[in-house]
């Protein structure tokens, strides 16, 4: 069952795409800018680890502000924003429906970006809440929520108005992510920042929010992209819809409990429950990966080599992150890797590897279709892929191996802490700095790619408008969109 098999004529498709042209360019261009900013923040943080006086005289740029600023820029600025763009587009394509209320989408998207900007400036100004994944200060959170109600509302109305009533597996994931995000975001904001609960309950709720955001919201956006794009590129239907449905329900029910390692100062049932759920999540991921593997295996020629490379990177990282999380949550392993670099390693695999690569594939494949303009330099995209992939893997491997060594040191009380720093932390952070530099370069290339496309699309429309090229109807529409922005 593939909702992409359509009875629509090509002109209907371009109609749908055109309704989404400028909103998607708006979202995508902001998203890649945030990715660049986030990568620069992580690079600064990383350099601070081997040069204690680097940018030390400014309270805005400490290691402890750069790390959350980078995380929030990448999660809220890049991943969620590009994720909204991608899932709106998939909703429209699979439901064969035009975007409703693009004007409100601009308002929502603008508000979202202002919210993220205010939040990140707030973190740097020292107003961080100190809660992982929710560091943005209390005054930024309502802005983000209001922005989301607009964006998510438009997505749900568009979903509801779909012409094709049958649901394709990716649509379940999109639908669940759309509901899950406002739910956990508002609950966590109220209980951690608004009127905070006491003591270690904060840590459990924060862990719940982080898992919900990573496994369910961002994870579902990534999975929806994999299940939508890979069959399309392989020119095949998804191997088995039921396997996908199985994975969907397992991830939905157990996903938000996964990922809290046992051994912290929390009630011990929290870690135990989380361990069991992490294993379920890993199992669901194996099923998903098998389903996609069987889809590719029987497929014909891949229609886009670079797009499929991004998607393979995404799939492999997602599977590896889920398996490693399950492995690390075993009590004997958690004793070693808890509190070490292993955890940021998992975060890199999940956020940059799985979600990030999936979204870059979406940007690479969707934007030319939506904008009606080709990428100006395919070579630059190839360079983007390789720098990004090598950078992400280098950071992940450095942190995962370093984390293991770091943990082995911590569990050996006879080893002085400075020896752990010299042997298990410093060399691996140096290695990760190289990876972060590569990711920053990739983000820079990406911004360049998208800006070129952005400029060509706009200038194309302007030319059309002045009657220098044909297709007057098209240009008029685009121009009015631009005006409404």
């Amino acid at each position: 069952m593939d909702a992409n098999q359509s009875s629509k004529s090509p002109s209907d498709w371009s109609d749908i795409d055109r309704s989404y042209r400028f909103p998607t360019l708006f979202l995508a261009s902001k998203a890649v800018t945030w990715l660049l900013l986030g990568s620069i923040f992580s690079l600064i943080a990383s350099i601070k680890m081997h040069s204690p006086t680097f940018l030390a005289s400014c309270s805005w740029v400490t290691y402890g502000t750069m790390v959350p600023a980078a995380l929030n820029a990448v999660v809220y600025g890049f991943a969620l924003q590009a994720g909204f763009a991608a899932l709106l587009w998939m909703t429209m394509r699979m439901g064969q429906v035009k975007l409703v209320a693009p004007g409100y989408l601009y308002i929502g998207a603008t508000l979202w970006n202002i919210g993220v900007l205010v939040g990140i400036v707030g973190i740097m100004a020292g107003h961080s809440t100190g809660m992982a994944y929710l560091e943005m200060p209390g005054y930024a959170l309502p802005m983000l929520f209001a922005a989301y109600t607009l964006i998510g509302g438009i997505a749900l109305v568009t979903f509801h108005k779909r012409q094709v009533r049958d649901l394709y597996p990716s649509q379940w994931f999109i639908f669940a992510a759309l509901f899950w995000f406002p739910w956990i975001f508002s609950a966590a904001s109220c209980l951690l920042v608004g009127s905070p609960v006491r003591g270690v309950t904060q840590v459990v709720i924060d862990g719940w929010y982080a898992s919900g955001l990573n496994v369910v919201v961002l994870g579902f956006i990534g999975i929806a992209l994999l299940q939508y794009l890979i069959p399309k590129l392989a020119k095949r239907d998804l191997y088995n819809g039921y396997l996908s449905m199985f994975a969907f329900w397992v991830l939905l029910i157990f996903g938000s409990f996964a990922g809290i390692l046992p051994g912290q100062t929390l009630p011990s049932w929290v870690g135990a429950l989380s361990t069991v759920c992490s294993v379920f999540v890993a199992f669901a991921w194996i099923v998903l990966a098998y389903n996609i593997y069987r889809t590719i295996e029987g497929g014909g020629a891949k229609s886009d080599a670079l797009g499929i490379k991004f998607l393979y990177l995404s799939l492999a990282s997602g599977l590896a992150a889920a398996l490693l999380t399950a492995w690390a949550s075993r009590e004997t392993i958690a004793e070693v890797v808890q509190f070490t670099l292993f955890l940021p390693g998992l975060k890199w695999l999940q956020l940059y590897g799985f979600v990030g690569a999936g979204l870059l594939a979406a940007i690479y494949l969707f934007l030319p279709k939506v904008s009606g303009t080709q990428w100006s330099s395919p070579g630059r995209w190839t360079a983007t892929f390789w720098t990004y992939a090598v950078g992400v893997l280098l950071v992940a491997v450095a942190f995962l191996f370093g984390g293991w060594k770091h943990g082995k040191g911590l569990t050996n009380p006879d080893m002085p802490f400075m020896d752990i720093v010299r042997g298990g932390i410093a060399p691996f952070i140096r290695m990760s700095t190289v990876g972060e530099l590569l990711v920053t370069i990739a983000a820079l290339l990406l911004v360049w790619n998208v800006s070129c496309l952005f400029w060509r699309t706009y200038s194309g429309c302007l030319l059309n408008c002045c009657g220098l090229a044909g297709q007057g109807g098209d240009s008029g529409k685009s121009q009015s969109k631009k005006g409404s922005k």
Partner: protein, 296 residues
């Protein structure tokens, strides 16, 4: 078939389950936790931090110190040290019992030990053995106690005497437990490193006190000012490459002082019911029976 409604209901149920599991249940379990009297302290524990330390916590949160430092101590288990507090009147039978309790002792060694009471007669035994030894001495007239010794790399490293528990953080808002140990754990740093000046130097430039440290410097917490007549009593004793220019001195800003106040207020130095340790002043063997049960 339109699966929209089924999907909606399913997602709603999953949300409810997720919320009950990790939001409601922890709150039901821990939400009503309150301070309680700790016998060894003779007062309610925990108590709120002082104003300066609370301000220092803000500096700690704003600078994001929790990105590299945890404030939680792990424990893998515990052992007992058997201590003879008082040999009582029947020395000969007690010597025989000490030998029974620790079979590696010769008679001479046992006699010496008993003469030196209070003294540890056997180290590192499991709960069953501790109970057995306490029973041996029950009617001997001697006072024997089982001291609880928490185990685990964090504790052996000297980062704290026991594991941290939920009670320790009742007044922490926001709670900055941290999950990275790029730097050492700070749960008990106020008892481990008590020197104020050390902390100030360490914050100004870690290399002044710890060679090869990868901690960034925080010079913005300090002011470099001209020496106006007499040098300031607060000026940091900086030497060599760290010394300021001639005629200048480095003094801590109020933020630095309150941050150090906060660091010094981080102490895990009393047992609590959930995490007992070492009761050296235990009175009688009966009392200590209840202690071993507590530790379970």
């Amino acid at each position: 078939m339109n699966q929209g409604p089924t999907l909606f209901l399913g997602v709603l149920c999953a949300m409810a389950v997720s919320w009950i599991g990790f939001v409601m249940l922890p709150q039901v379990q821990l939400g009503s936790q309150s301070t309680r009297v700790v016998k060894e302290l003779g007062r309610h524990y925990p108590s709120p931090r002082g104003g300066l330390a609370e301000r220092g916590k803000d500096v700690y949160r704003a600078a994001g110190c929790a990105s590299c430092h945890t404030q939680q101590i792990r424990q893998t288990g515990f052992e007992f040290d058997m201590v003879l507090n008082d040999a009582g009147d029947f020395t000969n039978s007690v010597i025989a019992l000490v030998q029974q309790a620790n079979r590696s002792l010769s008679e001479q060694e046992a006699t010496d030990l008993v003469a030196k009471a209070p003294i540890t007669i056997r180290e590192g035994v499991k709960k069953e053995m501790a109970d057995h030894i306490l029973k041996l001495f029950k009617d001997s007239g001697a006072k024997v106690a089982a001291n609880i010794r928490p185990l685990g790399p964090d504790i052996e490293r000297g980062w704290g005497p026991r594991q941290t528990v939920g009670l320790d953080y009742l007044y922490d808002q926001p709670l900055l437990l941290g999950n990275q140990r790029i730097g050492p754990d700070l749960a008990n740093v106020g008892s481990r490193l008590t020197d104020r000046e050390w902390h100030l130097l360490h914050l100004y430039h870690p290399h002044t006190v710890v060679a090869g440290s990868i901690m960034p410097a925080y010079p913005y917490l300090f002011e470099t000012q001209e020496i106006d007549g007499e040098p300031s009593p607060d000026a940091l004793p900086l030497e060599g490459e760290f010394a300021p220019a001639e005629g200048m001195e480095v003094v801590p800003k109020p933020e630095a002082n309150s941050l150090v106040d906060y660091l010094l207020s981080l102490r895990i130095d009393n047992p609590v019911f959930e995490a007992p340790y070492l009761f050296t002043q235990a009175e009688s063997s009966e009392d200590n029976n209840s202690e071993t049960e507590q530790a379970q």
